[in-house]
């Protein structure tokens, strides 16, 4: 897309109309020649339940290798999984797995022959691993894990904050197959004094973006070496769609997706924390026990986002459904423990006054979704408010009110489901 675009042209200090047109021809409108314009296509609309939540529901095939999705942004793509998908699948199909890119110059192609994953920095033996080697020379690791955007559900954050206005569908559950990062680090031999691991990708970051905005995420060495953090080359038994990080994506179970670097090409072993934009300026949360703060609060220390919080959701019945008085109603959905296993799911049919334990579906491992089910019988006609709450192994439970931080991250308030008994 940006290939034949020289740096000189981009750094024109104040853009005239001519430069701007040239830029749009190369960036946005590039697709007028390459792809098809999305506004020319008919699409159904969907109303996400917050102010200014009207979005296009785009048909399968609108984006390559993707099925029907909620369109949050054409370029660079932000695609949300329609909620009905979670009702049908405990593992989110690859073609309806949400998509999230930051920069318009992200790679649109991958050459599998020349693709290498490099392990560099403080190692005894730097590595250059081809995809074939990754597949055949290391033991297979498989893990069910939820990948959730830090800003999932941002549209529900109150007061509202800027950023992608997702409902609850910027998450997905998959079985990831690949190699534990520990295997690579062992083979390379980590030198004394190493403390951190930087992860980089095929995303190069071109002008006008400043150099420090090249995508790079950093984890503590100890975390990356825990045997769980892995390099996935398959999701749900197949290679992943390019938009989800083909050919190899970092999997950081229990942590928000910002660390799950797509198109992973380099792991640098370092003796210092990350210094780039995506670790020091973006994806920061208040350094408080909850990661939340009071809106407008000044002088709050910020730290990189990290562990996920527990969450639970309704998938049936649908919001506002009418049910028959005196008959048992089956309710259910999905839940996750976040950074640790799910301990229990509690369900309330009376707006939170009483809670009952839901039964849980098959346990595919601590980091994946678990289905939950419960039943209640409305004894009277009228409005009911159902609630569901997840509690994890560490005793962390979902709050009644959503917390707030400036990024609109880590929303996990208890879900409410209105029902009418008739």
């Amino acid at each position: 897309m940006w290939e034949d675009f020289s740096t000189d042209e981009v750094t024109v200090p104040q853009w005239g109309r001519r430069e701007f047109l040239k830029m749009s021809a190369l960036l946005g409108a590039a697709g007028l020649f390459a792809g098809h314009s999305l506004s020319a296509r008919a699409a159904a609309m969907i109303d996400l339940p917050f102010v200014n939540g009207e979005r296009k529901l785009i048909p399968a095939g609108t984006f390559p290798q993707k099925g029907e999705m909620i369109l949050q942004r054409v370029r660079p793509p932000l695609l949300e999984t329609p909620w009905s998908v979670f009702d049908r699948h405990i593992f989110t199909p690859n073609d309806q797995f949400y998509v999230r890119w930051h920069m318009p110059d992200f790679p649109d192609h991958v050459d599998v022959k020349s693709y290498r994953i490099r392990v560099t920095g403080l190692v005894k033996k730097p590595l250059e691993i081809s995809l074939e080697e990754l597949l055949h020379d290391f033991p297979l690791r498989e893990m069910a894990a939820v990948n959730q955007c830090s800003g999932n559900s941002r549209g529900f954050v109150n007061p509202r904050v800027n950023g992608a206005q997702w409902a609850n569908g910027a998450m997905g559950n998959a079985v990831w197959a690949g190699v534990a990062l520990r295997e690579l680090l062992q083979r390379a031999g980590v030198k004394k004094g190493a403390t951190h691991l930087a992860f980089r990708s095929l995303e190069k970051g071109m002008a006008p973006f400043p150099a420090d905005t090249r995508f790079e995420k950093v984890l503590d060495l100890e975390h990356g070496n825990d045997g769980e953090v892995m390099l996935a080359y398959a999701m749900n038994g197949a290679t992943m769609p390019l938009l989800n990080g083909f050919p190899v994506r970092l999997v950081v179970p229990g942590w928000y997706s910002t660390y799950w670097v797509k198109m992973l090409t380099e792991i640098e072993v370092m003796d210092h924390p990350g210094t780039g934009f995506w670790m020091t300026k973006a994806y920061l949360i208040p350094d408080t026990p909850t990661g939340y703060m009071t809106p407008g609060e000044k002088g709050v220390k910020m730290v990189p986002i990290n562990r996920m919080k527990p969450r639970s959701f309704f998938t049936e019945p649908g919001s506002g459904a009418r049910v028959a008085k005196g008959h048992p109603v089956k309710v259910g959905g999905i839940a996750m423990g976040g950074s640790t296993a799910l301990e229990r799911v509690l369900f309330s049919a009376d707006g939170g006054a009483h809670w009952q334990k839901a039964s849980l579906g098959h346990d595919y491992g601590p980091y994946g979704f678990r289905a939950w089910q419960a039943s209640f019988t409305p004894e009277k006609t009228g409005a009911y408010t159902l609630m569901v709450k997840a509690v994890n192994r560490q005793g962390e439970e979902q709050p009644l009110q959503g917390g707030w931080n400036p990024g609109g991250f880590m929303y996990n308030a208890i879900e409410h489901l209105p029902l009418q008994a008739v």
């Binding site: 946005g28 192609h109 049936e316």
Partner: protein, 117 residues
């Protein structure tokens, strides 16, 4: 309407790619992967900003992300809009002249209105 969807669909899917017998039992065998280079063509957006101030937004806000993204934003304070526009310039290198920042923030504030309680 799929009333029993979750429990059954989950299990069916699982058997389909063999997790139950591999990851759980620990004796894994590699999924069948055949590496093939990929090249995609993305759809584009020709959506532009209209209405008051549309011109200035078209000049400075279409380069790095499509207009839908800006249109979908919530109503926030004028100060917050100013922070956003400055972020586009300082963090991301948007070529926005210094003397346009306040004007653009004002345009955005007028577009979305005051924050709703």
């Amino acid at each position: 309407m799929n009333r029993h969807g979750i429990f059954s669909a989950g299990c069916t899917l699982l058997l389909a790619f063999g997790l139950a017998s591999t990851a759980v039992a620990g004796a894994a065998s590699a999924p069948k992967i055949h590496w093939k280079s990929e090249r995609i063509t993305l759809p584009t957006s020709d959506l532009t900003f209209t209405g008051p101030g549309g011109q200035v937004l078209n000049t400075y806000c279409l380069m790095c992300h499509s207009a839908d993204f800006v249109n979908e934003q919530p109503a926030v304070s004028l100060v917050t809009w100013k922070v956003e526009v400055n972020k586009m310039k300082n963090a991301f290198g948007a070529p926005i002249p210094e003397d346009q920042i306040d004007h653009i923030a004002e345009v955005l504030y007028q577009r979305f209105g005051p924050p709703k309680p």
